[in-house]
């Protein structure tokens, strides 16, 4: 085969063209991070507009909205009007609220007559503990279920796992709570039915059943994503190449299948955080835990809107921030995303 001498240099030229785009902290990388942070700020800003101005969707005057269900004396009306600046134009009310929220001041609770931040601060540890315990449970059970199913795809163990996950996915947290209370707390008496306990160890003990109830549905989510992501990778040619080179199956699974399957799993984990915070309302109500979930329900019940606003904003912020973090870790999971190359 006669070849033109210039072809030989084609590869060299291509390599030269590619060279400047290397490196994770390239200009493009910095621009990407800045873009993500800008997007985060914009999303949070738009969310805050929604949370604040939702109040204006309710017909009628704002004072009587805030004081629903209470018998307002003229003094109370005057006080509320002054405190929330209800006589100011809406955009100014918003700026005041936003300014306060940025410094951790969400105004005063109508039911507790305390600062909203204080009320929430007292309740936050229980919820965080619950979410963390659930998260650990979800990671362990969900990942292992997904991995086991994927490695046995098409076999009885896979089908069994899938059936199990389908059944679990239909057990909402309030059903899970009731069943767990009935069996392990009331019948067997192994765990308390109520409250969050005193001190760290006692708290963990009190939160075992609640964290299981909370985890059930999310285990399914993680399990299914893990399975499908791994199954997809198992069918990829690079896995076959690795196998053909004489690597042990365990090595292939770890370095080429699981590693490559991480992306979707991480993305789901980001969505999970907000889901856990919201679902904890139900679990906290069922187990009588004094967390922000039960506080939210109580505040809705007692028409304490400033607290509702604050908790909603808190959950939304948690969601947006966690997802931004997941987004930013992407280049470490998949180097192609840093270069803006399309994933395949």
């Amino acid at each position: 085969m006669a070849l033109d001498s210039r072809t030989v240099s084609v590869a060299a030229r291509e390599a030269a063209a590619e060279a400047p785009r290397r490196g994770r902290w390239s200009a493009a990388g910095v621009r990407r991070v800045a873009g993500k942070l800008g997007g985060l700020a914009l999303t949070l800003f738009l969310a805050s507009l929604l949370v604040f101005f939702s109040r204006f969707l309710v017909p009628g005057d704002p004072v009587s909205f805030l004081l629903r269900g209470r018998k307002p004396s003229p003094e109370a009306i005057a006080q509320v009007t002054a405190q929330y600046g209800l006589d100011l134009p809406p955009w100014q009310q918003y700026l005041n609220w936003l300014g306060g929220a940025l410094t951790g001041d969400f105004g005063r609770s109508l039911q507790y007559r305390q600062d909203v931040s204080t009320v929430i601060g007292e309740r936050l540890p229980v919820t965080l503990m619950l979410v963390v315990m659930s998260g650990i449970l979800i990671a362990i059970v969900g990942l292992s279920a997904g991995v086991v199913a994927a490695l046995n795809r098409g076999r009885p163990l896979d089908r069994l796992t899938l059936v199990g996950l389908t059944v679990l996915s239909a057990i909402p947290s309030f059903v899970g709570s009731i069943v767990l209370i009935a069996i392990f707390a009331v019948q067997l008496g192994w765990f308390p039915t109520f409250g969050s306990g005193q001190g760290f160890g006692d708290m963990v003990y009190h939160l075992v059943l609640p964290s299981i109830a909370l985890a059930i549905v999310f285990v399914v989510l993680v399990g299914k994503v893990t399975r499908s992501s791994m199954v997809e990778q198992l069918g990829r040619e690079h896995v076959e190449v690795a196998t053909s080179r004489g690597l042990k199956r365990a090595t292939v699974i770890r370095r080429h299948v699981f590693r490559n399957a991480l992306g979707p799993i991480l993305t789901v984990s980001g969505v999970l955080v907000a889901g856990l915070l919201v679902a904890s309302t139900i679990v906290e109500a069922a187990f009588g835990l004094a967390g922000i979930g039960s506080l939210l329900v109580q505040s809705v019940d007692r028409l304490d809107f400033p607290v509702v606003q604050a908790i909603v904003m808190l959950v939304v912020t948690a969601f947006v921030v966690v997802n931004a973090i997941v987004d930013l870790t992407e280049p470490w999971i998949d180097p192609r995303s840093a270069a803006g190359a399309s994933a395949r």
Partner: protein, 536 residues
Amino acid sequence: MSRLLDIDGLTLELHDGTRLLEGISLSVAPGETVGLVGESGSGKSLTARTVLGLVPERSRLGGRVRLDGREVIGAPARDILDLRRHAAAMIFQDPRAGINPMRTIGDHLTETLRRCEGKSAAEARARAIELLADVQLPRPEEHFGQYPHEFSGGMLQRVMIAGALTSSPKLLICDEPTTALDVTTQAEIVRVLVELRERRGMGMLFITHDLNLAASLCDRVVVMSRGRVEESGDARRVFTAPEADYTRRLIEATPSIAVRSLDGEAEADASAPAGPMLEVRGLDKQYQLRGRPPVHAVVEAELEIPRGGSLGVVGESGSGKSTLARMIVGLEQPDRGEVRIAGRERSTAPRSRAERIAHAKSVQMVFQDPYLSLDPRIPAGRAIQDVLRLHGGLDRVAAEARALELLEAVGLGERHLAARPKTLSGGQRQRVAIARALAIEPELLVMDEATSALDVSVQAQVLDLVAQLRAQRGLTVLFISHDLGVVRRVCERAVVMRRGEIVEQGPSERLLREPEHPYTRLLVDSVPRPSWEAAA
């Protein structure tokens, strides 16, 4: 004689009883290259994979496969690992899919050295860099830390070869290693493979659907079809004097670029009546991608096809040939220049329904992949009727009758009227696509790589159909292809494109026989030819 690989009566049956391989026998001696050729579904890849114990789950194997003196079938996992590590290695078709995109090139190369041979990081690195130099990559040290997405397909295939060589295999199995690559890149890769084979004295089992490629580098070939060996023997004997019918048909269907007599040119001159059907003047298109330099996809293209003529556009991937086609049919708007079809300006986007229909009447297109260019939900007959009713205003009955006529004209029949695309074969789908394009009775038909997704025998049928339709209907055809042999078969004239520019044009035969531009020459020279002809 001690054989490196000896396959005898190999059968493979899936767990549901489907038999995919029926008594395959072949052998490879050290230093010898054996070609395994056949169309898709012939079982050639499957045969090669059993050598490394890569078989579908729960399948049953029969017969014997001896690699380097050891039996593979039924061997314990430990022995299979050992064979994969020391006896044989495999190069796969698509390097982009075959190298883990999330790990570095260095990791790919050192993985087996470190994890199977227990080499230290520094030793493995030194060996990897040596191998990268062996496959003639320009900057091995730098490539070591790069990721696959930073490489072109040709460079990645070199990495894949280097990866296969880390174990110093005695047998190298190549599964269509150049099919995903352009013809000039293919020539480079083949050159690297041949050189390494000679230097290391490896045996090679080379799987390909391309008979020309097999003829260019194999000592012996094995022709497979539907899980059976149709014929095997000395490469020159098989290709010049085939014994099996199947082999003969395959050879006839394969387009060749071997120089023929001069009648092609005479024909072209005879059929040049007044007034060009397609006139492209100064057509120019740039793509602006964010954060990257603009890509000049088509540069000042000029071309012309006489009424009833056919023109081939040849080029490698990225040459701008598809963009040119898309501008001519109106799927893209050019930045500058004009397209005239039958004397009418057609380069501006149609604004009204009437303009759209007039545009469609002037030019139709047949797309590359018949699996994607038909709406999966719409049966063949219905697809054609929709077009007829849009353009001809026919009623339902008349449209149905006409649709059947068109299907029959492309060699299909009544039973295909209600067939959904997924029940049709690739060749049948492409026939439906052609019938659908003809329904509009366009003045110009653009075929964009319309046969490159098909097997050669099916490709030959579709090309015959196009020739027949041209003769019957006086159709004007613009034929886009990467394959010089195919273009020569269909078109009197051709243009060669490279990086958006038309570098040369002229009668197809002349371009093949005496290319003027260096790139055309490179393209022609890169097409594999039988080793006995090259030597002569």
